[in-house]
């Protein structure tokens, strides 16, 4: 039941960014944090509290799952838990992006944004 409601609901910025960060490859917590920062060009900075709070809820909803526990050679020799997007997570992300596309299409139709062309919409 919980999964269906999460699927239909608009996602919070943190959940959307985490799904985007995991859409290409599996990552550990710090990796997700850095990817979100890079994706948003430094506009979205999540602290550990927000990140792991969102990860906990997303695992519960079935949007992501734990992958392996392994070493990240770029950081240290400590084993880390990696997270991966699930099929439900991919569907949810696609649905959310569709929702954004619809909103942008509507905005374009109503000529609400004078700078739409700069974003290539």
């Amino acid at each position: 039941m919980g999964r269906i409601s999460h699927f239909n609901a608009p996602l919070t910025p943190a959940v959307l960014h985490i799904l985007l960060a995991l859409s290409i490859q599996e990552r550990h917590g710090y990796g997700i944090m850095k990817q979100v920062e890079a994706d948003s060009q430094g506009k979205v900075k999540m602290g550990p509290g927000t990140l792991y709070g969102a990860i906990g809820r997303m695992i519960e909803s079935g949007l992501i799952s734990e992958s392996d526990k392994k070493i990240d050679p770029a950081l240290d020799d400590e084993r880390r838990i990696y997270y991966q997007i699930t099929a439900l997570g991919q569907k949810t992300l696609a649905a959310e992006l569709d929702r954004y596309r619809e909103i942008i299409a509507l905005a374009r139709q109503r000529r609400l944004s004078p700078i739409t062309s700069t974003y290539g919409i």
Partner: protein
């Protein structure tokens, strides 16, 4: 640039802060959060902006998340909380109704507040103890000890155990309760240690009884017999609770294989 000493100190504090998360959440994510905090610290070291300011920001962010997680757990378990509140309200409604029909029952607003706080405190303590697990005997022991505490406070506030409620000798019971409360805190939910704390409480109550009798502190309102009966009631309750705690711990002994002759 931040020294290694201060970085270690920040890590140490962060680990302590993470302990404020609900137990299940802490068990699941604390190690990872600690790793991430270390990564963030490592990334920050050597940068020009203040490390302390950054650490404070992360601590505040994590603290907000901790509050959110704890509230979420509390709301998930609010059904039990509602049951406790309803039970307290149903008990308090009795004197409220009685006041409408009888002049014998006269409760002020303060009486209701004190009684409500006492009952709620007892209910929440029982809930906390029950959540920590334990079998039926363990829960019965908790309930009995809490009932004795409630009864002792109530009796002392209403009529007093030694003489009247205004008799300063009744202040000795604060010491009796303190022995039980401090002992229970130190016992950390372990049945044998809780039993020891309750035996100590019973012993301190016995000492209070002897002092009251020897010094004749209850006169003229209370004779020695009344003091002995009331205190014996509490001593029995403390000992019964202690025995229940001990008994709740024994099932592991019963799990030994039967002896060959059976």
């Amino acid at each position: 640039m931040a020294s290694e000493h201060s970085i270690n100190r920040y890590r140490h504090w962060y680990v302590k802060l993470l302990r404020l998360y609900p137990e299940a959440y802490h068990h699941r994510f604390a190690r990872e959060m600690e790793q991430t905090f270390n990564d963030l610290l490592r990334e920050r070291v050597g940068k020009e902006d203040s490390l302390l300011r950054f650490v404070i920001r992360i601590f505040c962010e994590t603290l907000l998340a901790i509050i959110q997680q704890n509230l979420s757990v509390m709301f998930r378990q609010n059904q039990r909380l509602i049951r406790i509140l309803l039970a307290v309200a149903s008990i308090l409604i009795v004197p409220l109704i009685a006041m409408q029909f009888s002049n014998e029952v006269v409760w002020t607003l303060t009486d209701f507040i004190i009684a409500g706080a006492l009952l709620l405190g007892i209910g929440l303590t029982y809930e906390l103890a029950a959540r920590k697990g334990g079998n039926l005997k363990y829960r019965a022991a908790v309930l009995l000890a809490l009932a004795a505490t409630l009864l002792m406070v109530w009796l002392n506030l209403a009529v007093g155990i030694i003489g009247t409620e205004s008799n300063p000798a009744n202040l000795m019971y604060i010491g009796v309760l303190a022995v039980g409360i401090v002992g229970a805190i130190l016992a950390r939910h372990q049945p044998t240690k809780l039993a020891r704390a309750l035996f100590a409480t019973a012993l301190s109550q016995t000492i209070v009884t002897i002092i009251a009798l020897v010094a004749n502190l209850g006169s003229p309102e209370n004779g020695p017999l009344k003091i002995v009966i009331l205190n014996a009631l509490f001593i029995t309750m403390w000992i019964a609770s202690a025995l229940l705690f001990l008994y709740s711990h024994t099932p592991t002994l019963k799990s030994h294989p039967p002896s060959p002759e059976h």
